[in-house]
Symmetry: C3
Subunit: 153 residues, 3 copies
């Protein structure tokens, strides 16, 4: 399975890597593990999707934003390792959903990223995960997702 | 120290593994590290404890729910590795407490899981930890906890 | 580069290690990775800075508190490994900001810790990161930060 081809066949285009919103790296590799910094829903024009799910953003839109976070994660990873075929396994993602206190469908929202990873990497994209709600995210992101990959160097 | 016997002597029964609330695995192993997905307070009847600590749930109940999260973590791990005696060390847990903004006793709540781990695994159950409050959790969970174990395969 | 000297030249003093607020260890080492438990903004007198950013705490104060969390992280690490020169790389930090729902400058706040790490460790202090807002933290902390280091034993 060629992960780069798979992305292309799915008609998915990686955004240009997001500039870090602070003093850190988008991707840090230690031994054969790549830690990807928390990524927001990066849009085609370089801006981020903003809003509160359960208030001004619905679940379906939230899922699309979680997919955008996933694409930003892949962009950050590819920018560091050069070729997504070096991915051995997606290990874990943590998804933070900017939502109202009565919103409880965080798992459905984060599926937008989890499903993307399975489509791109097959079995090697099925991962451990935590999904939680929070009352605020950087720059007003609707969703923020971080990830850990095992890679072959 | 036999961890399976220890569980039994404590009168603790592992719940059936919770079905993931999305497109992910409850436990993913990479090399000798097991990442356990965020687990809610799984009750005997297969449902989850719901509510907001500081509002309709008190600290003692929250501690019991954190213990339930811990048992769900052990169930997810055992379902993957077959025998809890393969645990070499509990490395880290992250506990998310669904709470009001004026509730600040998250550490006491998450002790319900941390104490369980020490009772079951002894020194090998004493771990690093973060505990934070959040305004909402999946399905209305009172508590959600994820974990990282070092195991022997 | 001598990291202990660097701390001294920066005029920074590590606080005494904070006592865990629950049943866990401040630092747990597995193989060559050190996991540091979530640390609050530990002040010189042993108390913690409390408050809500965006309400009673401004960004600049929040940044100073994030630096205090970073110093508490280094204290916890040094207490376990004895010498900060054993640090090979800061891998990741996760910063939780106790804030109002309309506060969206979490990255600026957490820079208080990220910048500290770069000043102390140089390139080896530049890390992956996630920063999120939450509605409550233990004991009323303004900021809580956890960390992962690669070390040489």
């Amino acid at each position: 399975m060629n992960f780069e081809n798979q992305l292309e066949q799915l008609g998915l285009i990686l955004p240009s890597p997001a500039k870090p919103a602070g003093s850190y790296k988008p991707c840090l590799i230690v031994d054969n593990i790549a830690y990807i910094s928390g990524q927001g829903p990066l849009l085609e024009d370089g801006s981020f999707a903003k809003g509160v799910i359960g208030k001004d953003i619905d679940i379906e839109t939230g899922q699309k934003h979680a997919q955008k976070c996933g694409l930003a994660i892949l962009s950050a990873l590819k920018n560091e390792i050069g070729d997504l075929n070096k991915v051995d396994q997606l290990v874990k993602i943590t998804g933070f959903v900017n939502c109202t206190s009565d919103f409880t469908q965080q798992p459905l929202v984060i599926n937008g990223c989890s499903d993307l990873m399975k489509e791109v990497f097959g079995d090697k994209g099925v991962h451990a995960r935590a999904a939680v709600g929070v009352n605020s995210l950087p720059l007003g992101f609707t969703v923020e997702i971080e990830a850990i990959f095992k890679i072959r160097l």
